[in-house]
Subunit: 214 residues, 2 copies
């Protein structure tokens, strides 16, 4: 075992009015606090895995001294501008992956292909490890997993798929919160518990309920 | 690297009228053929990973010479009766996991805890590796993942969670078929293509559409 090199990570983050699909269980202020809790879980795990995280935000944002790049362009444009300036490998990771573990990050970094891809459900891309950033570009939205495979192939780059449930679990909808309550151990789980969200069981299916404030 | 021992696997399988939640995209005959296609993918991968699969069915069923135990009791009762008679480690794997890979199965088998658990989404349990079958019992349905952790703890057995997107992806609903069309390479993917199912993209979300038979 050799010491992992300090891997540069860029985390796109939207501090204002994020996660609108959770609006029926959280108001805007809660969604913003929840997004920061998930980001905190991601950043902690990255530090534990020996990585060096930075944020990419459309507005100035201060988060525990983590370096923040402010770029008002849309996600793909901002990320591709960033990649074109990097000479060392770059890990791009979404901020809504509160279940990621140091082990999963280490498995990703330990790969050898030019591009490591962690699929999300529904054709998404949750994490990309780009070892030759000036030869690659990203294309999020839609079936981005298929696009990211194709972009690697078109550029003559090798790729590998990293098989991780915890990294594939992005939190977008109410049903996704079940996974945090079952598997989470960090700030995100604590936040959900604080606002009164608990698991419910109806007709054998596990769901989410919010206790009233009465 | 040492050669893996031949691990015994038991696969619960329902040949008649399975996967009723797929009824709006497949009729009963198609669902039965699709269930066999998924089973074929699972059995092939297990063989490739050096395992020895058997089936557990409520009715007599012949599948490529794979040994079939017929047990008319409900799932938990039948599996627990089976476990109580085994002296060697037993792998219990569901038949609707067509994306499993030999690598994921090997990671599970390479573990050292008394119980290896692969969670499915929503608190389910997709794969269990039970190294001391006479000291453990299963309890599927509901939040079975939490139950399986608790049963291990109550029995004084160690457990570990195996982190695999491909093993965590069970196919129950129409939306799950997206994962097969994107990531699958086996019979299940071939079957879906044959009956005319393809990916669709609406408002940036990936879905499934079935071409008409006109």
């Amino acid at each position: 075992m050799t010491e992992s090199p300090q891997v540069h990570v860029i985390i796109p983050f939207r501090p204002v009015n994020p996660k609108t699909r959770l609006s029926d269980v959280m108001d805007q202020e809660e969604r913003e606090a929840f997004a920061r809790a998930m980001l905190g879980d991601v950043v902690s795990v990255l530090w534990e895995a020996g990585c060096s995280p930075s944020l990419l935000s459309t507005v100035p944002f201060e988060f525990h001294g983590v370096r923040t790049y402010v770029d008002t362009r849309e996600l793909n444009e901002a990320l591709n501008a960033y990649l074109s300036q990097q000479e060392k490998p770059v890990l791009i990771i979404m901020s809504d992956l509160p279940l990621i573990t140091p082990d999963a990050v280490r498995r990703l970094i330990a790969g050898t292909a030019d591009v490591g891809i962690v699929p999300g459900r529904g054709g998404g891309t949750n994490v990309l490890y780009v070892r030759k950033p000036q030869e690659y570009h990203v294309d999020y939205y839609g079936a981005s997993y298929c696009d990211h495979v194709r972009i690697a192939e078109d550029a003559g780059l090798s790729y590998e798929v990293i098989d991780s449930f915890f990294m594939s679990t992005d939190i977008d909808e109410k049903e996704d919160l079940v996974e945090i309550l079952i598997h989470g151990r960090g700030r995100s789980r604590g936040f959900l518990t604080e606002i009164g969200l608990t698991l419910s069981l109806e007709h054998g299916r596990v769901g989410i309920q919010r206790s009233s404030h009465e």
